[in-house]
Amino acid sequence: MAKLNITDHARTPAPGEVLDHEYLPVRAKLLEVAASLDRVARAEGASADDPRRRQIDEALKLLLEDGDSRAERMQLLFSLPYDDGWRDRFGL
């Protein structure tokens, strides 16, 4: 019995192809963020002084920066600081 030929789809994406795929998902995610922030703005007691809100504002600014490491930089933005003297502080 002859074997079925299976197409090898491995290839480098054409210019613009990644954006073709990402455009609508990115639009949808940005819209979700916009709607979430509208919800926060409408909520009683919402405060611009809340450190979480300031963190979100910093994250939004980060999206407009250049480069290809936005995800890593955003992770660090939402991280607590590392103290390299932690072992002394813990007595370990």
């Binding site: 480098t12 607590l80 590392y82 370990l92």
Partner: protein, 269 residues
């Protein structure tokens, strides 16, 4: 595509999930000891749990042609009780000769506290004394970066630690590089909201390569998807990556790492 899920908590999943995993191509999985959703009150609670991990679960998995492996420890959430942790660490060797045990795990940090660090170091000492593989849980969300750095400090501080025998799990964009640079294996956990998506995992493979990299579902009793590894396979294929590369991540790498487990333990069957 055949795959291995290197981190999934089957004690909290149904038998139907085993059937689904088998149909999706899962040939083997490993189940680290973890938090049960409540703090256990005695060392006997852990003894019963280890019995379940080394006897009952392998039989349940075998019904669907899946090899079940496991890791033993007291998890970081319960490490605040240092005296109980020490009792559990002293009891672990009772189970190390069971045939499906890969090593010590998932040990690690949760809120990066002194007691968690103390218990981590004592687990690491046990693993290094006995030559066992180590599977490490890194903390969630805001604690992950500092906690991962602390774990790397502790691993580097024990001269006996061989990075080729340690898997650092739940790495994300800000922690994968230091773990790989130090020579460790890494796992990316495909888990909704708090960890990594299949798309971001594919991004990290494209950025850092496939060497010493695995992906897992960490399926448990929380919101999680036990078939997340096939989602990663699909995403990699959609991007045009060759099956050989994908298979290295989901099959070859876990096989190679797990193959380094101790097989000469006293009393092993």
């Amino acid at each position: 595509m055949d795959y291995i899920d290197p981190h999934i908590h089957m004690v909290s999943r149904t038998t139907d999930d085993y059937a689904t995993l088998a149909r999706m191509g899962c040939r083997a999985l490993s189940e680290p000891a973890f938090w049960a959703g409540y703090d256990r009150g005695s060392v006997d609670g852990f003894r019963d749990y280890f019995e379940q991990l080394t006897d009952f679960e392998p039989k349940r998995a075998a019904q669907f042609g899946i090899d079940h492996y496991t890791w033993l420890c007291i998890n970081a959430k319960e490490a605040e009780n240092v005296s109980l942790s020490r009792e559990v660490i002293a009891m672990i060797p009772e189970f190390l000769s069971r045939p499906n045990v890969l090593g010590i795990g998932e040990i690690g940090l949760n809120r990066n506290t002194p007691n968690e660090a103390t218990v981590f170091l004592e687990h690491l000492d046990l693993a290094n004394r006995l030559g066992e593989l180590v599977l490490i849980h890194t903390p969630h969300l805001a604690d992950k970066h500092a906690g991962t750095r602390m774990i790397l400090d502790m691993l580097a501080g024990d001269q006996r630690t061989n990075p080729e025998r340690v898997l650092i799990d739940h790495v994300e964009e800000h922690t994968i590089r230091p773990a790989l640079d130090a020579g460790y294996w890494v796992g990316m956990t495909l888990y909704p909201v708090t960890k990594c998506t299949p798309e971001r995992a594919a991004d990290m493979v494209e950025r850092y390569g496939a060497e010493r990299v695995m992906v897992n579902s960490a399926g448990d009793w929380g919101p999680s998807k036990p078939t997340a590894v096939p989602d990663f396979i699909f995403e990699m294929r959609r991007r045009g990556h060759a099956d050989e590369l994908i298979s290295q991540v989901v099959w070859g790498n876990p096989r190679e790492f797990f193959g380094r487990r101790r097989t000469d333990r006293p009393g092993a069957t």
